[in-house]
C-alpha cells in the first residue's frame, strides 16, 4: 500500500510541479480549460491510421484535457502556454512513480541489502533515471515552441535555445528508455544480495 501510495503521490506532485513551473515562469494563472473526447479520438486514430507504428506513435500524444493561459490582447485570443494531460504519458509517469517508490523502499537504511558501493551506484542511477524520464514525460506547450505539447518545452523554458531544443525533440524516446533502464538497473542492484558484506 505504501508503495502504491507513493507512486500516485509522485504522479500528482509531478503534474503539480509542471503547472507551478508554468505559472511562475510566465507569471500568469491559467484562465482556460479544454476537455477533449479522448476515447472517441483514440478510436478515430485507430480506424484511420494504416500502420501500427504510426497508430501507436500518434495515440501516445492524444490528450484528455488542457489547462493554460489565453492572451486576449490581440484578436480572439492566443494560447500562450498550456499543460496537457495525455493518458499514455500519465501511465508513463505513474510507472516512473512505481519505480522511484520501489527504489526508495529498497534503499531505505533498514532495507539495505547490498554493499555501500552498490548502494551509491543505485542511488545515482535512480536520480539520473528519474530525471531523464521526468524530462521526457513533460507535456507542456508554449506558443514559441510551435504551440505543440512536447518534452523539449521544458528545456526551452529552462533557457536552452529553442532551435537546439527542437533539434533534440526526436531523441525524447531514447531519453525515456535510458531513464527507465537506469531505474530498473537500480532496483536490480539495490535488491541484490551484498555478497561482499555477507
Amino acid at each position: 500500500m505504501v508503495w502504491l501510495g507513493l507512486a500516485i503521490a509522485f504522479s500528482l506532485l509531478y503534474y503539480l510541479i509542471l503547472m507551478m513551473a508554468l505559472v511562475i515562469r510566465f507569471e500568469n494563472l491559467p484562465n482556460y480549460l479544454n476537455v477533449y473526447e479522448w476515447a472517441f479520438n483514440m478510436k478515430r486514430i485507430w480506424l484511420s491510421t494504416p500502420s501500427w507504428f504510426d497508430t501507436l506513435n500518434i495515440m501516445k500524444d492524444e490528450w484528455l484535457f488542457e489547462i493554460g493561459f489565453m492572451n486576449y490582447d490581440y484578436g480572439t485570443g492566443i494560447s500562450q502556454w498550456s499543460l496537457f494531460i495525455a493518458p499514455a504519458k500519465v501511465l508513463g509517469v505513474i510507472f516512473l512513480g512505481v519505480l522511484l517508490s520501489a527504489n526508495y523502499l529498497l534503499l531505505r537504511t533498514h532495507n539495505r541489502v547490498c554493499s555501500k558501493d552498490a548502494l551509491r551506484g543505485a542511488g545515482l542511477a535512480t536520480g539520473l533515471g528519474g530525471t531523464f524520464v521526468s524530462l521526457a514525460s513533460i507535456t507542456m506547450s508554449w506558443v514559441v515552441c510551435c504551440s505543440t505539447p512536447t518534452w523539449v518545452v521544458g528545456l526551452a523554458m529552462m533557457g536552452l535555445g529553442v532551435s537546439t531544443s527542437l533539434w533534440l525533440e526526436p531523441v525524447g524516446i531514447w531519453v525515456n528508455i535510458i531513464g527507465y533502464m537506469l531505474l530498473l538497473a537500480s532496483i536490480y542492484v539495490a535488491a541484490s544480495r551484498a555478497t561482499a558484506n555477507s
Binding site: R44, S48, S51, F53, N57, T148, S163
Partner: protein, 454 residues
C-alpha cells in the same frame, strides 16, 4: 381503414428512417488561423460566409450525403499539423514554413501523407514578415542590430526571414542575441521597450505600427524570397472525396473575389470575426495591399518552399520532403475548370508591388466619411491638414514606399521633400540616400504636415 391503409404511413416512416441510417455523413474539419491575415481566404472568410457549404458536391455519389463541417482556430500552424496527424482535421491552412513542416512530418510516417493543393495568397518579395523596433528607438536599419537583443517566434516564417536578413547583412547568430518570443509577447515587449527588436509575421508588425508602439526597420521584401500561404489536405481524405477537396478550393477562389469586390466592407466584417483592426487589415487586402489573393501554385512558390526547407533542415534537422509527391495541381485545376476560370492565366500572373503599385493614390480613412484617395502626396498632406483643422477623426492614412511599392501607414513613413515635391519611404536609410541624391530633406509625418500648414 383496412390494415394495408394503416401500414402505409408506418412503412413510409420506416423507409425514411432506413434511408437516413444509410445516408453517409462526411466530416470536414478545417484548421485555420484567425490571427494570420494571409490565411483568411481559406479560413475565416470561407467559414463565416459558408462558402464551402455553397460549393460542396450534392450529385452523383454525394446525392444522399450529409456534411458535418467544423472549423478550429489555432495561433500557429504547428498544432494544425498534429491534429491532422490524429485525423481530427482534414484540411489545414498555414504559412510557408509550417506547411513544409506539415509535408515533411507526414512523409516521415509509414502510412500517412498530406497534399499541398492550393495557395491562398502571396507577396512576391516577402512582405508580411518584418523586423520592428520600439517607436522611439534610435535604431533605423538591420545593420544597427549588431550586439542587440532580437526576438522572433522561432520556427515561423518571420524566423526564416530574420535568419536570411541577418545572413544577407553579414551577421552570424553570434553577432546578435536571438530570443524566442511569441507574437503577443514580442508585441508587448516592443510596447514596453523591453527588447531592442522583434521580428514577426503578418499582421503583427502593422498591428504594432497602427497602435503606435512599433516602427518597421526591415521589411521581408528585402530578402527577395516570396512569402506565401497555402492549403494542405490529408491524402486519404482527398483520395476518397476528391470533389470535396476541389470544392474547398472553389470556396478559396470565391473568398478572394469577395474581398477584391469590396475591400472596405470585407475588412469591416473580418475585424468583427477576428478582432484584428480593420485599418491593419486594409493594408493587406486593399488594392495595392501586401497580399495578392491567388490560389494557383506557381513554380516560384515551389522554389521558395524548397529554399525554406533548406533553412529548416539547417536549423532544426526536420525530415526530408519530396516536393513532387507532396504538391499537386490536380484539385486546383479542377476547381478553376468547374468555375470556368483560366488556371493558366492566374498561374502566369505575378503581382510585383514595385511595378503594380507605382501610380496608386494615397488614401485617408475618415472615421465617418470613409476612405478618400489623392493622386499626389501634396494633395494627401493638404487633405489631412484640412481634416485636422475641422477636428475630424482619421482612422488611418496610407502612402507607398518609393523603393518597394509597399503600402504604408502615413504616420510611420519617412517623407523626403525635394524641389519636385514629396516622396515617401518605409526605411530611413532609403529616405536618407534619396534625399542625399536629390538634395532633399528627410522628415517625419508631422513635419511633412507642418510644411503644408505653414
Amino acid at each position: 381503414m383496412n390494415i394495408r391503409t394503416k401500414l402505409i404511413p408506418v412503412l413510409s416512416l420506416l423507409s425514411v428512417i432506413a434511408l437516413q441510417v444509410q445516408a453517409e455523413t462526411i466530416r470536414i474539419a478545417i484548421g485555420h488561423q484567425s490571427m494570420c491575415t494571409d490565411t483568411y481566404t481559406a479560413g475565416i472568410v470561407v467559414k463565416e460566409l459558408k462558402l464551402l457549404e455553397k460549393h460542396l458536391p450534392t450529385t452523383g455519389k454525394y446525392a444522399d450525403v450529409e456534411y458535418d463541417v467544423s472549423w478550429s482556430d489555432y495561433s500557429s500552424g504547428g498544432p494544425i499539423t498534429n491534429q491532422m496527424m490524429a485525423n481530427k482535421l482534414n484540411f489545414g491552412v498555414m504559412g510557408d514554413y509550417p506547411l513544409i513542416v506539415n509535408g515533411a512530418k507526414f512523409q516521415a510516417t509509414d502510412s500517412l501523407r498530406t497534399k499541398y493543393i492550393a495557395g491562398t495568397g502571396y507577396n512576391l518579395k516577402g512582405s508580411g514578415n518584418a523586423i520592428v523596433v520600439p517607436v522611439e528607438s534610435d535604431i533605423y536599419s538591420i545593420e544597427e542590430l549588431k550586439g542587440k537583443e532580437v526576438s522572433v517566434p522561432v520556427g515561423s516564417a518571420a524566423w526564416g526571414m530574420l535568419l536570411k536578413g541577418m545572413q544577407d547583412t553579414g551577421f552570424s547568430t553570434k553577432d546578435y542575441m536571438l530570443k524566442n518570443q511569441s507574437p503577443a509577447v514580442g508585441a508587448a515587449n516592443i510596447a514596453a521597450k523591453k527588447i531592442d527588436a522583434h521580428a514577426d509575421f503578418c499582421p503583427w508588425s502593422e498591428l504594432m505600427e497602427f497602435r503606435g508602439t512599433g516602427r518597421k526597420i526591415y521589411d521581408g521584401s528585402e530578402t527577395g524570397v516570396p512569402y506565401l500561404h497555402g492549403v494542405v489536405v490529408r491524402e486519404d481524405f482527398a483520395d476518397k472525396y476528391p470533389e470535396v477537396a476541389t470544392a474547398f478550393i472553389k470556396a478559396v477562389y470565391e473568398a478572394g473575389d469577395w474581398i477584391r469586390e469590396d475591400p472596405i466592407k470585407a475588412v469591416d466584417l473580418i475585424e468583427k470575426w477576428t478582432g484584428v483592426e480593420k485599418e491593419v487589415l486594409y493594408i493587406y487586402f486593399s488594392e495595392g495591399g501586401h497580399l495578392t489573393l491567388d490560389p494557383s501554385i506557381k513554380s516560384e512558390w515551389v522554389d521558395a518552399l524548397a529554399f525554406n526547407h533548406g533553412v529548416l533542415v539547417k536549423e532544426k534537422a526536420i525530415p526530408p520532403l519530396d516536393f513532387d509527391e507532396w504538391i499537386t495541381e490536380e484539385y486546383v485545376e479542377a476547381a478553376y475548370k468547374d468555375l470556368g476560370k483560366s488556371y493558366k492565366k492566374d498561374k502566369a500572373s505575378m503581382v510585383d508591388p514595385a511595378i503594380d503599385n507605382a501610380n496608386l493614390p494615397m488614401e485617408i480613412w475618415h472615421s465617418r466619411e470613409g476612405i478618400s484617395a489623392y493622386a499626389s502626396i501634396e494633395e494627401f498632406l493638404g487633405a489631412v491638414d484640412g481634416f485636422r483643422k475641422t477636428g475630424a477623426k482619421l482612422n488611418a492614412t496610407y502612402v507607398y514606399d518609393k523603393e518597394t511599392g509597399l503600402k504604408l501607414f502615413g504616420k510611420t513613413a519617412f517623407f523626403v521633400l525635394t524641389k519636385n515635391g514629396f516622396e515617401t519611404f518605409l526605411r530611413k536609410p532609403d529616405a536618407d540616400a534619396f534625399a542625399s541624391d536629390a538634395k532633399g530633406e528627410v522628415m517625419d509625418y508631422e513635419s511633412a504636415l507642418a510644411t503644408i500648414g505653414s
